[in-house]
Amino acid sequence: MSDALKQSLDLSIFLEYRAILLQGLIFNALVFLGAAALALSVGLCAALMRINRHRPMRLIGTIHVELFRNAPDYIMLVWVHFVLPLLIGIVIRRRVEFHPFASAVIALGLVYSGYFAEAFRAGIQAIPQGNLDAGRAFGMSERLILRRITLPQVVRRMLPEALNLFVSMFKATTIVSLIAVPDLMYNVSMVIQQEMRPLPLYTGAALTYFLLIFLLSVGVRHFSERWRRKIMA
């Protein structure tokens, strides 16, 4: 093996910069957590609207799902960061700017809220009517039924799909470097500009993401599956 190849494959440079790179990874995690919270809460609302008995509500829910599910992450990100503040600025007649971190959370949160809404909806509709009848017969309010009977079952049912969505979402956090959120990829690019050694640095970043996502999802799946299985006949 030539020295040049050896040097370019030497991943130790990645470790040299571990402090700054880890800092970037923490940003990924923060964007992920914020976007996940937004996607879950907005997704649940959209799902409840899609199964609402009033038609206008259903329509709003459907528009939400179709709009965000079919918007590419990157375009949403750019649109939320550069266009949305302009529009808001025109309305309130004041200059508005979004912090890149906020734009990243909003954009990814909205895109994935569309996917989560569908996962919630499928989960809610899969619950037998009799389960709800039993709740009503014992005098439970609709809100109590949602919280105590519907959602705990929906969460178990949609867990495998939710896990896949969380994985895609974590991977999607890598694009936030494009609007200058100092995440792992952003910091890697910075280091590359200095060191001029893209091969080990990009490879290191790829390996880091792969290992992190792989280990996390295997772990979560392992621990959630037994808990989930209990209720299945």
Binding site: P128, G130, N131, D133, A137, F138, G139, E142, M232, A233
Partner: protein
């Protein structure tokens, strides 16, 4: 007279004039389909009324109307004299109740469904204590103590910590009966409680129901189990095409049916 009935009559010391449940002129349609066309009957406290009839005669719909899972289109249900779907104010005006008020009223009726409808994500004990804690606001400790008493009554105490998926149909139904009992209802409604059970599991559920009847529980039982209806009920109602075709004490209904339709219906069970 059957043992269950005799024991109940001696157990029921206090019998008020107000019936536990009064069903008054219930009509129910689903679109153009008229399922119930004016059904009225009383269920005195401590008595058992069985409702029999062919599939599609409106039996289950009737029971679902009694606790407003299906609000009737006309007519009213009275629980110990209180109208379930409406309030009569001081001036005698009828005002429809809100869903919250209906919820508060219908928890006085324990329902046992054909499909058990246990909540699969909770253990048997969890199912039984859920409504007493969340709806009756019972302290958890008291709810558990009473739930265990109910589970002992249906002989399910050993399975208290199992999930429904691991139980047989008969065990699930007995747990569902305990769940209804735990709310200390004024009356119990059984909607074909044994119809989705294998024959060998039917008896364990009927046994529990028979004991409840003996203890003086007010019950409306929609059933296909003619021998059970004959033995346990104080009154039997034969429903046909949404109206009461014939009603009376079990001896008359099964011993000397008056209408052709009832005779025809009963003959299918004698084979």
């Amino acid at each position: 007279m059957s043992n269950a009935r005799a024991a109940r009559e001696s157990a029921t010391i206090y019998m008020s004039d107000v019936p536990s449940i009064r069903v008054a002129g219930i009509h129910k349609s689903f679109g153009p389909l008229e399922v119930l066309r004016g059904v009225s009957f009383d269920v005195p406290r401590g008595s058992v009324v069985s409702v029999i009839g062919a599939s599609g005669s409106g039996k289950s719909t009737l029971l679902r109307c009694v606790n407003y899972l299906e609000p009737p289109n006309a007519g009213e249900i009275y629980i110990e004299g209180e109208p379930l779907g409406a309030r009569i104010d001081a001036r005698g005006n009828r005002k429809a109740r809100s869903l919250t008020e209906i919820n508060a009223m219908r928890r006085e009726l324990g329902v046992v469904f054909q499909q058990f409808n246990l909540w699969p994500h909770m253990t048997v004990l969890g199912n039984v204590i859920e409504a007493p804690i969340r709806v009756r606001k019972m302290p958890r400790k008291d709810a558990i103590a009473y739930a265990e008493e109910c589970l002992r009554r249906v002989r399910m105490i050993e399975k208290a910590n199992e999930y429904p998926a691991r139980l047989s149909g008969g065990q699930q139904q007995r747990a569902a009966i305990a769940r209804a009992l735990a709310m200390r209802p004024k009356a119990m409604l059984f909607d074909e409680a044994t119809s989705s059970l294998d024959p060998e599991l039917t008896d364990e559920v009927l046994g529990v129901m028979r004991e409840l009847a003996t203890d003086g529980t007010t019950m409306i039982v929609v059933t296909h189990e003619m021998s059970f209806a004959r033995e346990v009920s104080d009154r039997v109602i034969f429903l046909h095409q949404g109206v009461i075709e014939e009603e009376g004490p079990p001896g008359e209904i099964f011993g000397a049916p008056k209408s052709d339709r009832l005779r025809q219906f009963l003959s299918k069970y004698r084979r």
